[in-house]
Every structure is written in structure tokens, then in C-alpha cells.
């Protein structure tokens, strides 16, 4: 006889990933996946993070323009400011900074919540109903985090561009339409696709690592902060590595 939990502990993360993928792909017919959990996750990861993301995006967009303007003063600003905005903000910072915010808020929250659920035997309770904890608790959270992260990255880019324009106005009376048309002339479709792909990957990484670490708690409440720290560290490493990989792939292919 092979026990479900025995299988899980034996092969670790990759088995967890395989089970999660299986549960996710049958999500349509999966009564275990809770739309309420998905909705609450989007609300927490996405909506409640908007003030912080807005502040960061405005500041970053503005600072990039500020630094760029200083550098390019002698050469005339022209198109180079927009190129810097697209290259630095849209291509890199929006994804990375949003991912860091999602790790700090949602990754830690998910890991802690699931860890505490394990300690309080709530996971056992779900299993005793015959409901898969991965289908009910993990897939729903992964879906929520991926949707929220993708929307947040797009939102970050929009606000950063707005921040860039606001700071540009400090140096010259550039109207918004001119600024945006200059920005759009530099922005390529591949930049948007790259940002979207990165955000989906970041959302997947953060949610999968956090749920796995949370469910890896055994019995002691002291394990919860340890697992949460592990989730944060692994998520940061993985996000940066995947970011480099995707950037390299786009650089090679396009």
C-alpha cells in the first residue's frame, strides 16, 4: 500500500509540482478548486498591494527619468529617455520589484497560513473529507497569485510611465500626448510580451514555492517562521534566475 503522504514526502518538491500541475489541468472539472479562495487571493495579492505598487512605480518611473535626464543633458534628451524607460522599467524593474512586493506580502502570508494550518491540523481536516489539500488550497492560491502578479506588473508599467512624465515636466513643458507618443514609438510588442511572460513565471514561482514550504511544516509551530524564511529566500533566487533566463532568451531570439 502506498500512502498519499508517503509519496509526497518521498519525492519532495518535484512530486508536489507534478501533483499541483495535474490538479491545475483538471481545474475545469475540479470541484476542489475554490473560486472563493482564488478571489480572496487576488484581492489580497493584487488589490491590497496597489498603494505600495503605485508608490514604487511612480518613484521608479520618476527616478529613472531624473537620472536619465542628468546623464543625457549634454546630448539632448530626445528619444533616449524613452529608451531608458522601456529598457530599465518595462523590461526589468517592473517585474522584479513587483515580484519582490508579492514575495514580501503574499509569499510570506501563504507560507505562514498553510504552515499554521498544518500545525492546527486543518490540513488533516481537509484530507479527512477526501478533499485534496493541493486541489483546494494550493491550486486556488497559485491561480490567484499568477493573475494578481500579471495585472500588478502591467499596472506598475502604466504608473511608472505616468511617473516618468510627471518628472519630465520638472525640466521641460512636455505635454502628455507628446511624451506618450515618444514612449510608444520605442515600446515594442516584444517588450510587453516579455513583461507578461515574466510576471506569469514570477507568480508561478512565488506561489508554488510558498505553498510547498507552508505544507512542508510538520507539527511544530517553530517550523512556520523557518519555512517562511526559506520560501522568501528561494523565491528571490528563483525569480532573479528566471528573469535572467527569459531576458537572455528574448535577447537571443529577437
Amino acid at each position: 500500500m502506498t500512502n498519499k503522504r508517503q509519496k509526497k514526502s518521498g519525492a519532495g518538491f518535484f512530486l508536489f509540482l507534478a501533483v499541483t500541475l495535474r490538479e491545475a489541468f483538471r481545474a475545469k472539472s475540479n470541484r476542489q478548486m475554490s473560486s472563493m479562495v482564488v478571489f480572496r487571493q487576488i484581492l489580497f495579492t493584487g488589490y491590497e498591494a496597489l498603494p505600495l505598487i503605485s508608490f514604487l512605480a511612480l518613484a521608479i518611473g520618476g527616478l529613472v527619468i531624473l537620472q536619465g535626464s542628468n546623464l543625457l543633458q549634454d546630448f539632448g534628451q530626445g528619444i533616449w529617455v524613452h529608451i531608458i524607460l522601456v529598457t530599465v522599467v518595462v523590461n526589468e524593474l517592473s517585474g522584479i520589484l513587483t515580484a519582490l512586493v508579492v514575495i514580501a506580502r503574499s509569499g510570506t502570508a501563504i507560507s505562514t497560513e498553510l504552515g499554521n494550518m498544518r500545525v492546527r491540523r486543518e490540513i488533516d481536516l481537509v484530507e479527512s473529507f477526501g478533499i485534496s489539500p493541493i486541489g483546494y488550497l494550493v491550486v486556488s492560491r497559485i491561480l490567484g497569485v499568477v493573475i494578481a502578479t500579471t495585472v500588478l506588473v502591467l499596472y506598475f508599467n502604466l504608473v511608472a510611465v505616468l511617473g516618468g512624465w510627471l518628472f519630465t515636466r520638472m525640466f521641460n513643458q512636455l505635454d502628455f500626448r507628446t511624451f506618450i507618443s515618444g514612449f510608444l514609438s520605442v515600446l515594442k510588442f516584444s517588450h510587453v510580451i516579455s513583461a507578461v511572460i515574466k510576471s506569469i513565471c514570477f507568480g508561478l514561482i512565488i506561489s508554488t514555492v510558498s505553498t510547498y514550504q507552508g505544507l512542508s511544516v510538520q507539527r511544530a509551530s517553530t517550523e512556520v517562521p523557518q519555512r517562511t524564511i526559506k520560501a522568501v529566500v528561494i523565491s528571490i533566487f528563483a525569480v532573479i534566475l528566471v528573469d535572467m533566463l527569459i531576458t537572455w532568451l528574448f535577447w537571443v531570439l529577437l
Binding site: 500500500m1 500512502n3 499554521n116 486543518e122 484530507e127 479527512s128 473529507f129 477526501g130
Partner: protein, 214 residues
């Protein structure tokens, strides 16, 4: 139905444990230590990590027996503590297994079922509140309500009177006496006096102490 433990060793402490337990009656697992019997119940539900050996339900392997994923309608397990999902309201907690087993039930039918069992257990609670606002005894009785809502084939009760005050114990005793006629039960208990007056059969786990590592 007979559940058979065949040389089972588990993470929770069972060591080469073999026993046949009849489920079609009221059977009491008398265990002064409490944790031995709890390990048996957990292993029966597939909640424990089994290192070796097998558990059979009328000759059917445990994994196969629960392969359809609706074990709560087969074995209704009431935990020793009133465990509830803390991120859900009491009502959402009660409805979770009910909607899983009987998705066809509409809101009115579900509410009627909940009201019936709440009345039987004399529970007057605002079901919109979160579990942390309730007393342990109330949560424990709600655990009974949640299990009985799905009308399981067998009841597995882990130390049913644990955490209850005197009044709640009396209510629970009255209810399970009523349920005795319609539900076969397997009860893990540290109270042999209760078992002597209530159960059809008592299995004294004291004689299996070599098969459990504390």
C-alpha cells in the same frame, strides 16, 4: 464491515500492528494513553504515513477504498479537538464537506439540514462568525454537526467527550445514544466506564502496548 490492520507500522507510532476491527456495530477502542487509538483512527483514514503493512476494508486496500475521494461519506471522522478552517466562517466550515459530497443541495436544503443538527446539539451560534470566537466545546459539537450533515456510513469518534463541559457532555451523550440505532460507530476513548455502558464491543488496547512507540 471489518477493517483489518495487517502488520502496520506508521509515522504516528504503530509498530507492526495487526488487528481486525468490526465496524457494523458500536465498537470502543479503550486506550488510556489516548494517542495509540488516535493513531489507529488516523491510519484508517489515510491521514498517516504508513511505512509498512496494509489496511484493508473488507479485503479492499485503503487507497482503493478511498479512490473516489469521498471518504467523508464513508467514514465520518470527528476529531478530538473541534478543528475548523480558521479562514472560513462557521457556516462555510459546515458546508465545505456537505457541498463536496452533495453538490446538488441548494441553499434552503443545506440550511434546513444545518438547523436540524444544530437544534439536536442545542447549539445557538451566529454561523457567520469565525471559529476563533467560539469556545472549544462549541467547536467540538460543531465538528459533530459537520460530520453528521453528510450522513456517513460509519462514525469514527476520537475521544468524543474531550474538551466538553458537563452540560455539553450530557447533550453529546444524549445525542450519540439516539444515533446508536442508526449509525455504526468506532469510538476511541480513555473512559472505560462509558464504554461498558454504551458499546457493543470493547477492544482494550492495553494488551497491544508492544505495538506502539510513544
Amino acid at each position: 464491515m471489518i477493517v483489518k490492520f495487517d502488520s502496520v507500522s506508521s509515522r504516528a507510532g504503530l509498530c507492526n500492528f495487526s488487528l481486525s476491527i468490526p465496524l457494523d456495530q458500536v465498537t470502543l477502542l479503550y486506550d488510556p494513553s489516548k494517542i495509540f487509538s488516535a493513531s489507529i483512527l488516523r491510519a484508517m483514514l489515510g491521514l498517516d504515513e504508513i511505512y509498512s503493512g496494509n489496511i484493508y476494508y473488507d479485503g479492499i486496500d485503503l487507497d482503493q477504498y478511498f479512490a473516489d475521494g469521498v471518504q467523508t461519506s464513508k467514514l465520518g471522522y470527528v476529531f478530538d479537538e473541534g478543528i475548523m478552517l480558521s479562514n472560513l466562517s462557521l457556516q462555510e466550515n459546515l458546508l465545505l464537506p456537505l457541498h463536496w459530497v452533495k453538490p446538488e443541495l441548494d441553499t434552503a436544503q443545506s440550511d434546513a439540514l444545518i438547523s436540524h443538527w444544530m437544534e439536536l446539539f442545542e447549539l445557538k451560534l451566529d454561523l457567520k462568525q469565525r471559529p476563533e470566537l467560539c469556545r472549544p466545546g462549541q467547536l467540538k459539537l460543531l465538528g459533530f454537526v459537520r460530520t453528521l450533515l453528510v450522513n456517513p456510513n460509519y462514525l469514527l469518534l476520537d475521544d468524543p467527550f474531550y474538551l466538553l463541559n458537563k452540560l455539553e457532555r450530557e447533550i453529546l451523550y444524549r445525542v450519540i445514544k439516539q444515533l446508536k440505532a442508526s449509525y455504526p460507530m468506532l469510538i476511541a476513548s480513555i473512559d472505560d466506564e462509558f464504554g461498558a455502558g454504551f458499546a457493543d464491543a470493547i477492544i482494550d488496547l492495553s494488551s497491544f502496548q508492544d505495538n506502539f512507540s510513544y
